[in-house]
Subunit: 348 residues, 2 copies
Amino acid sequence: LLNDIAEKVTKSTGITCYVRSILNVLEALTKTNNIWELVAISHEPFICVIEILKELEKRKLVSITNVISLTNRGREILSTYMYCKKDYRCDKCSGRGILFNLLPEDVIKEYMKIVMNRPRPIQEFDQGFVTEDTALSRIAIMDQYGDVRGRDIFIIGDDDLISVALGLTNWPKKIVVLEIDERLVSYISKISNEYGLNIEILKRDASEPLPNYLVSKFDTFFTDPPEPLEAIKLFVGRGIMALRKEKSAGYISLTLIDSSIDKWREIQKMFLTQFNVVITDIIRDFNRYQNWDYITDMKIWKLLPVKQKPESIWYTSSLFRIEVLKNSKGFNERMKQDIYSDRENISR
Amino acid sequence: LLNDIAEKVTKSTGITCYVRSILNVLEALTKTNNIWELVAISHEPFICVIEILKELEKRKLVSITNVISLTNRGREILSTYMYCKKDYRCDKCSGRGILFNLLPEDVIKEYMKIVMNRPRPIQEFDQGFVTEDTALSRIAIMDQYGDVRGRDIFIIGDDDLISVALGLTNWPKKIVVLEIDERLVSYISKISNEYGLNIEILKRDASEPLPNYLVSKFDTFFTDPPEPLEAIKLFVGRGIMALRKEKSAGYISLTLIDSSIDKWREIQKMFLTQFNVVITDIIRDFNRYQNWDYITDMKIWKLLPVKQKPESIWYTSSLFRIEVLKNSKGFNERMKQDIYSDRENISR
């Protein structure tokens, strides 16, 4: 039965769906009736979750009204698989393993204040910013690895205002931001001037090759890219180009919502073989995102079985850390295609 | 100067040493004067740390007496690099992100009791077991991912007594252990009988191919392998062979003490290209190991600049989780060579 559903979903979405994917959805339904939470808990691609639900409904394993719930039959099937998870996440660090509140108090306070007037996320650039906790946790983990103090840091796309948080610490030697969105460019410039943060912000499209003066000049890069494979190649490839070639580090966020686990495999292959870098950390659900305004304009909205906006945080991603080693290489060709959409993308 | 040292160390050890590796050692020396802690904090391969110290001493950046310390010159050099890290690890979960004490109380209590009489680690099989906290944290994270309840679990080498901890929960459908050490085989059998844990334990050398009745029969595997590349290939290859081919999961421990970051890259390439699996998590320092008796018989002991036994826990490893996907494949050939030693190995 589940095999049959997996095949159907694979065919209709073009994304490989596994029996275990369906079990992940069924199991999540024992914990929530809300579509957004369902995606969050199951850790399956949104597009697949929707198709899985359709197939489950057809077979009367799930009922969809204004809520989504397991039928008795669904419950029975799940229990034959004895598939069940328990949450052990640490409540002190939200499962991240690090405590951002060990950062200097004034950094935390100022950052919280500054973000209150930031530009709202827009769909044009696939924006959506992380919670303040997340942004600060990123600074903490980077500092834990020696990737902040005295370092030259490069940020590709900064709707999260990571540059501002970094600047407030006063630890980096240099902070350079590549940003395409005029609104963010002026906001970050304004804040940088006001607080004396010394952030260099360049209004640039990442698909243009990096100019020479940015190549091999940094110790650390950070990016939270759009997730089509080509976009990852572009953002991470540029990041690696910007790094000095000696155990410099890159931080990358990657979801299991806009990306299937099969795409993760392709991405990791690209990291290991094309870029020849090593992955030092993958921390699940490190990044939590605030809800954004354009959710009803997204591709996913039209597909939703229950049209209901999310009421709490549901969109999360893993934090990858990579290191550049001997013979690593980046990517600096011009890229022309649309980098914002693929079949797994929920936005467009 | 540091470039010169890096080259020298690379030449003498055959392991790529980076300027950043030396900085990691110098930085660690601002925090400890103890060789074991130095290795732990720097996260550089032990063999390299020793050679780096030698070169630093020659250049009077470090003084080695009965303790190891930075000279003023060493401090100056480090400060020109402004290289500095801070520890943000969560004290509630020891940086693991999960709380093992959410496991049933009696599981924790019984496990703590049982391990008190376990066989001591021996060098012949490169043994060294993890702390009770670590073993229980492994169960917790596996359960968080749905890899325990109702699952068939395969363990390759079990001096950590993971099978016992799993058995005590009563959650898995089946637990099978492959173990080469007669002492562990009988200890685990005895405990399993005494507590009715239903652990199937096979006295077998992993270098023998897996018999058919173990191939494609499990949902989860666990291994904490010796770290030469061929050993990883053997242990992880066997684990993957044992798994059903549908988003089943493998857990693997890997140090940066017995393995350089360059070896990590080779290992990850093997995972991605030869095995065609995906890495879902890499959690730094998840595993902490108790000190073992044969430390003075190890290769590393003869090389130590200060002959002093470790007084607290220093040996740690990262926890990898991988998933088997469509077209993943394992490794089931017989392997004849010595799997316990390579140039990075500290034991022999």
